[in-house]
Point group: C2
Chain length 180, copies 2
């Protein structure tokens, strides 16, 4: 859970990062930036700030802002009914993103969050900078982390049904609880 | 057709417009900006400059730069095999875009290119500015035009197979011929 104060502060900080990256968003969109703590109550360490530009039955575009060294936990996109699962293309706009996928363990510049060794299982590191892109097929486990200066990236995808994404960390709850 | 000189000039002008709009693209991507004259040999009037950021079997993202008062001709996205046709979401980043779809004729601020009355048939005008979005279902005829200052916009879509798009103007050839 996060407090309302944390929520508004994170939203403002994310909006500034997004606008400073050159991405133009409206004032209305700022209020739609989702603050996701993944139910872990440790937003600065494991969390993400996500603005959904649009989301249809076929296509979705989001802007993700990550604070300094903030980590989006390991998850994957499963098939749902006729849909083979979300295909996602990441495009980094600002900062450095360490992106992890299955393959040889090359984790070097990023890090596993404290005491979370068992829930970050894929460790093939891809270092991404502004203009770098990567397309993830459905079902591929992945997690990612911003460098020290934070990061802003796009996520372009087929239909997004994020509430149904499985996470390796079974403690994760996708909906963030906001308290006074 | 366009000359090589026109091609490189248009590419440079489009790259400057895209970067000035805040969108970060790499030097490699500049060389991939497509200059489309739709076979009409009148680029400044009817044409578009298109950078495909990526294009998969399911999702595509493009940046479109339009010069001052430049018009992308009327076309639509048809079904192809199992695909019901391209669903496209436009998001304006810079400048004004006059977007035309079926409905009551409200054409007021844009204009029909000279002597082209018969090939611009849909005239319901939607004026779009930075941050405005519009999602087009497959099969919907549409065309669009930049205001006097030119425009930069995103096109996010399901699978793009632009070479197969039908245009109202039967003279249109989707592949631009470049001559010395």
């Amino acid at each position: 859970m996060i407090t309302k104060k944390q929520y508004y502060e994170a939203q403002k900080k994310a909006a500034d990062m997004i606008r400073n990256s050159g991405i133009k968003i409206t004032d209305k969109e700022i209020k739609k930036i989702e603050i996701a703590d993944f139910g872990l109550s440790n937003l600065e360490k494991e969390g993400a700030q996500i603005l959904t530009l649009f989301s249809t039955e076929r296509v979705s575009a989001k802007v993700i802002a990550l604070f300094s060294n903030q980590t989006e936990p390991e998850h994957w996109h499963t098939s749902i009914g006729q849909d083979p699962g979300k295909e996602e293309t990441i495009r980094v706009v600002n900062g450095t993103v360490y992106f992890y996928i299955p393959g040889e363990d090359t984790l070097q510049n990023g890090f596993i969050p404290d005491n979370k060794d068992d829930v970050y299982t894929v460790r093939h590191e891809i270092e991404m900078e502004s203009g770098d892109q990567l397309t993830l097929e459905p079902g591929i486990k992945h997690w990612f982390q911003a460098g020290a200066e934070g990061a802003v990236m796009y996520s372009f995808s087929s239909a997004a049904r994020d509430a149904l994404d499985p996470f390796t960390d079974r403690k994760i709850v996708r909906v963030t609880k906001i308290v006074d």
